[in-house]
Symmetry: none
Subunit: 509 residues, 2 copies
């Protein structure tokens, strides 16, 4: 073998399997075991046996002009040593180059469901196989598919995160995150400190909520924290359950989450506009689900009345950031901010320490704590979002700007929707509203995560049923305490599903 020919990584692997085939998705080269020095030496051996050096231009060629005549058949030991040394060099360089390639793999573009399935078929003993599992179990859509826009499954954001490479990639060694505990000095003792820091950093970056003087609590999604807030705000010794209210149209899950256990502590009492009483918990969602309206509490916090602000959609892709919210309890979720719904992480900003403590107690009794793996993931993702807006140009600054991406998508999708509704002629949508966005420093429209669509045809009293007949699944307005002529339509699904929906909607007469 010519001393100057570099071994390819594949040849090197073939010699001693120093790297498993799947190493390209593994951050750690540990996959097949660290380089074994015996194998390393063997890798150099066979090529040298009896090999004669060849002249050449390389500085590493040992046979360069010496003028000495070598006894036939005898290669001095020191020359063999030199050759061994050179072979070791080349082997080491090949190994290092291979590890460099492992560290910076090329990420594939969109993988088809078929490819995804094959990619995630368990490979016995192969690290990383489970990580290739597809993001979603919903079947791929075709032009004939039923398009399900009932849920706010935020798969629209996948396209953004594919482009970020490994900025939001998480590696968890097998021995990590095993303990229940995270920071026993914190009210929220199971919260990973890095998650706390990234939440605060992001809010400071976006300016959508105050964090100084607030406790950050983590939950298994903001749904769990909603129940935690109800638990914390309901007096344990009350004779009657505390009434839970919200202004119609309210988020369809508020009644369900409040009442599914028929708790003696709190119960659903309907529309805040028609509520009469002194003790209540008002749920204020702003921008609101389903209709995107910007809301304030109607009952306010007075006497025995409390408010919980659900700010799941108060992010620049959906709405102008007009002020830094500073309510007593504010809920946020990864699902709608970054799109990582499957990670099941939400957080609460809570002013009062005792309320924070009771909310933490709820989570403790409900699920003992919150997955550390998910928290680490969320922290990584939030960090990547903030890095995109690190205008100080520090080492962390990146060119991946989530909110820019999200806003462009929402603007485009709402434009398509309004055109389709106009083309159809039988649907109406909320009027477009806008405001000055302090984050983007410009006027921005409200482009909500859901469309509050009304069917104006006289003979259609149940819009959800009408659309279902055209293979479009939505959530009926009556689940939101509103007229069934309305439906809530998710604006967050993938492009292919959304495009099919738009085409069908425009054709309806």
């Amino acid at each position: 073998m010519p001393a100057s020919r570099r071994r390819t990584a594949a040849e090197f692997q073939g010699n001693g399997s120093l790297m498993p085939p799947s190493a390209h998705v593994i951050a750690s080269p540990r996959g097949g075991g660290a380089p074994n020095r015996e194998e390393h030496a063997n890798g150099g051996g066979p090529a040298l046996r009896g090999a004669k050096p060849r002249g050449g231009g390389s500085v590493f060629s040992a046979s360069k002009v010496t003028g000495r005549r070598r006894p036939a058949g005898r290669t001095p030991l020191w020359r063999l040593g030199i050759f061994a040394s050179l072979a070791l060099n080349l082997a080491a360089l090949a190994l290092l180059r291979h590890q460099y390639m492992v560290s910076y793999p090329n990420h594939p573009g969109v993988v088809s469901p078929g490819q995804q399935h094959r990619a995630c078929a368990p490979q016995p003993g192969t690290s990383g196989a489970a990580a290739r599992a597809p993001s979603t179990g919903k079947p791929a859509v075709t032009s004939d598919s039923v398009i399900n826009l009932d849920h706010g499954d935020p798969t629209m954001f996948e396209a953004f995160w594919r482009e970020t490479g490994d900025a939001a990639e998480l590696v968890i060694p097998g021995w990590q995150t095993m303990s229940y505990f995270s920071d026993v000095s914190n009210v929220c003792w199971f919260m990973v400190p890095d998650f706390d820091q990234q939440v605060r950093r992001l809010h400071r970056t976006v300016g959508n909520a105050a964090v100084d003087g607030y406790h950050v609590l983590v939950g298994t999604g903001s749904t769990q924290l909603l129940m935690a807030a109800l638990y914390a705000l309901s007096p344990a010794d009350a004779v009657e359950p505390t009434s839970v209210v919200s202004t119609a149209p309210y988020y369809s899950w508020y009644p369900a989450v409040t009442d599914f256990l028929r708790s003696g502590l709190f119960c659903w009492a309907g529309d805040a506009n028609s509520f009469v009483g002194d003790a209540y918990i008002e749920l204020v969602c702003s921008p609101n689900s389903p209709d995107g309206a910007i809301r304030d509490a109607v009952l306010g916090s007075s006497g025995a009345g409390k408010a919980v602000h659900d700010l799941a959609y108060y992010w620049p892709q959906y709405t102008p950031i007009t002020r830094r919210a500073d309510h007593d309890i504010m809920l946020f979720t990864m699902s709608k901010s970054t799109g990582h719904a499957g990670t099941r992480i939400g957080w609460a900003l809570v002013k009062d320490r005792e309320v924070a403590r009771r909310m933490t107690k709820f989570v403790e009794l409900n699920t003992v704590s919150v997955s550390k793996d998910s928290q680490l993931r969320a922290a990584k993702v939030l960090r990547a979002v903030s890095d995109g807006y690190d205008y100080d140009g520090g080492a962390s600054a990146s060119r991946h700007r989530l909110f820019d991406f999200g806003r462009r998508k929402m603007v485009e999708r709402w434009r398509m929707l309004r055109e389709a509704a106009a083309a159809s002629g039988i649907f109406s949508l909320p009027e477009e509203t806008s405001g000055l966005c302090n984050f983007a420093n410009e006027t921005a429209a409200n482009n909500h995560a859901f469309a509050w669509l009304r069917c104006d045809r006289e003979d259609v009293e149940n819009c959800a049923g009408f659309l279902r007949g055209h293979k479009i699944l939505t959530r009926s307005g009556d689940q939101f305490g509103a007229d069934p002529r309305y439906v809530r339509v998710s604006m967050l699904d993938r492009d292919d599903a959304y495009d099919i929906f738009i085409g069908r909607l425009a054709s309806l007469k």
Copy 2:
């Protein structure tokens, strides 16, 4: 610099920061950037400038006896090349050795909170920073520490998982696990298919529970699934809440989890032994927490009565596997089987489809679904466990045997505990029991995850208070519906904490 002197990793780092200082705890070398070839060359350069080779015994010494006289002041280019080559060799070997040390770090035992904090301080832009977060936020212990064995924090298992290298390591790309959905064709629509498969595989391997004909459900820990079972088994239209009972001493959280929301569907009714009534849900924990007793239902499933079997400890490290359990509802948890409590994953094996559907509905209303990241992690870990017992010697077989490790630890710890109790003279423990373990094919003792310790001193009525005075935290027997002379003591903490506990216990008189 003598060509034969090996550079230390620290010197090599100083030259071009090829590895960040914290690399020894990062699985991925991506942290500080992969080796840079320009830096690599520079690393070799300075040492060679003008260096003369020295004679020596090494086969790599280029100056070995040649007899030639070199013109004063002139070193032939080819010799310089040889020196460069040798220096490259040494540098490469040092780098590979360093990476070997990264892959198989020496574990320092207890890391001080300060070290932990520095290790996990966010490094802007550094991949893997979040993954360095310590497993636990509990402070390190010293001989003067308060030893907290109140909770069953399973950090004893960390030592096993450190040794498995990357077998249980998980990599999640930024764009994965974003959707709520996993497999919409499954009753449990948010369950990751690989998790389902690994659960079934493990049970078949261990033989501790039947899986054929069962639905597998995933939950945020088995605590959530316990509530889900109560929800599923309680008639929604019942006038009175369904009574929930368990035989004393029962797991201290059963009353708390049942009653903390004052549900109208179910309520705690105490000791099953003294229960009178037709409608009930009996919680059967076997081996039992706190006392390790092997339990059967006392009320059984008849008429309106139902049983839920909590088999959290029915694994070979704690108890002989005497039969393949086949109850209607069986709960398991990662926390006690593999030690991954922070991942928050439990599962249920459920025979009845309607019950499975209602339990799934509970999880949906409670937390929308279960973290996919956690499920992927759990699947990876369970796979690694099963691989250790793949006696077919297939490609997946590994030498890491969790249950062997666990059993050895538990046998040793119980031996130490019995000796300490005997040395003290004022404590008693449950008698040792054993049985034929079908998994290990030998007789095995019960070595429970908790010790049900009784203080026999006449003047000590509250054992937990007595031990607290000696800086040992335990959980009082009265929380388990038993005499406060008993305490439950965790057997699952790290070696250092356990050793201190043993030493103190033996000294108590």
